[in-house]
Subunit: 121 residues, 2 copies
DNA sequence: ATTATAATGATAATCAATATCACTTATCCA
DNA sequence: TGGATAAGTGATATTGATTATCATTATAAT
């Protein structure tokens, strides 16, 4: 998978796996420093990218143009709050149940990723 | 809606309405310059933001960290190609029909926007 | 243990997006 | 109709998230 083991990558991945808050790079960096005080922000960026590339994490883009990361690779929708900016998992199905949990839904975007017909040829 | 009319805003909105390519700011700027050669990039940014704020356009964030814009406010999913980066509308329902049109779907993200339970109180 | 090179950490560079500000122009109203 | 007011513009500086660079460190094969 990876060419070599590194303590930094292990810590970055552990930090990401142990939270459900869909953190930003900076948050992961702060948490990782509690274990490896010398770890640099570039290393956190690099390893998060690598994890995404290897299918071990996903990027969640928020309207404030920041990347959030999620190590939960099961297919599941997210909820982004326009007030506090938090990113949360949505485990129920459809608007009705979300509303019952207290979420006020204003809109919903669905995006498919892959290869378009032109490029597939 | 807007406090004053401006030719620039009209042109920006017309450009956006007349395409289905979900263009970037730069593309809208280039098109707008064909009508108003003096229009500045800041004005295009400003007016696209205003259109979004007033519910006349939507932002589509792509994995290359660029904003694309869409004046089609009906609820519809998008397809983003990892090869050419294009953003396309998906009019059919479910993976099967998309696949039949030649799209190779690798993943799908759904995001709800609104106010979370904590902020709603 | 030696060697090759992947990975790191500090920091410079990039670039999309935003803020600033002097100037222009749409709209109001006397 | 013409001047006043302030919204809107255009040029450009600034910001800030992300990426690139490169000397150094550390993994893993021999």
């Amino acid at each position: 998978m990876f060419q070599r083991y590194s303590k930094q990558r292990e810590v970055v991945y552990n930090v990401l796996c142990q939270t459900k808050t869909h953190p930003t790079v900076d948050w992961v960096h702060e948490e990782a420093k509690k274990v490896l005080p010398e770890i640099g922000i570039a290393t956190v960026y690099r390893n998060l990218r690598e994890l995404v590339k290897h299918g071990m994490a996903k990027v969640v883009l928020t309207p404030d143009n920041k990347e959030h990361f999620d190590a939960d690779m099961t297919q599941h929708p997210h909820f982004i709050c326009k007030s506090c900016g938090c990113v949360m998992d949505v485990t129920t199905q459809g608007h009705t149940n979300i509303a019952q949990k207290g979420f006020v839904v204003e809109s919903c975007d669905t995006t498919f990723f892959g290869t378009c017909p032109q490029c597939a040829n």
